[in-house]
Symmetry: C2
Subunit: 153 residues, 2 copies
């Protein structure tokens, strides 16, 4: 399925969390399901906090990239534009907040995001991490549109 | 130099962020400098957001593990106990907040933490990330003492 990240331009495609060109990274893929955005990701066995449970920094990383991707997709959707159209909407994280609700077991995780607010160059995204049907973490990201030139050589 | 993480017991030593036994992980090392706690860490070249700049999820991860380590060390210090003495103080992250102040260039980073509050089983830690002398991110972690049995088989 076509993911938001498949439309990222060169300078964003090296992100450790979501860049398709970062061979060492997580390469997360996010797409719309109605008004929600969804990412599915299975941590590696070594992404542990304590044995059997997922590392909180990974969970924060997934929330971060899921949410900046959601912010970009939401801006395109609001303007009725294709994600390949120019100028590109790309976002950086202004702030990231994560509440860890309970330990997250290793295994496939599902992140579900919603757009809370779009205000000028800012998009606020809420995101919940599920292990099976159980919500284990909840995040909020304030994503800020970045200058198109950032990170371009 | 002796680091907090060198005193972590088995079940915490597999953490991807700070466990000395996680061969794939960051293995951060934190120590006291007066009333501050300090971690120095150099991201890998592939820990990028956009080329030349450090990945926000990594920065959040460093803040997270630096702060839970600080929480443990602060509890031992408050009780005048050696970090190897029992019962062990180990902390999980209740919540993590990061404000990204400006892009963080790749290169050695220094995290400096202070204990904002100790209240029962909770420790609130503030942490700033520096690239050289420039503060690029600021975090706050609410760390919660974890049951000693968590993650033990």
């Amino acid at each position: 399925m076509d993911a938001f990240q498949d439309h990222y331009p060169e300078n964003v495609s090296h992100c450790y969390g979501c860049g398709s060109k970062n061979k060492h990274g997580h390469q997360i893929k996010t797409h719309w399901e109605g008004d929600e955005t969804v990412t599915r990701f299975t941590p590696e066995p070594y992404h542990t906090s304590v044995p059997g449970f997922a590392y909180g920094g990974l969970i924060a990383s997934l929330i971060d990239c899921h949410s900046t991707g959601t912010a970009a997709a939401a801006m395109y959707r609001q303007e009725g534009r294709d994600m390949d159209s120019l100028p590109a909407f790309r976002f950086v994280t202004g702030s990231l907040h994560v509440d860890f609700l309970k330990p997250t077991p290793l295994g496939e995780l599902t992140l579900r995001g919603t757009v809370k607010e779009i205000k000028g160059r800012k998009v606020v995204v809420e995101c919940t991490v599920f292990a099976g049907d159980v919500a284990t973490a909840r995040g909020e990201v304030v994503a800020v549109q970045m200058p198109e030139s950032f990170g371009q050589s």
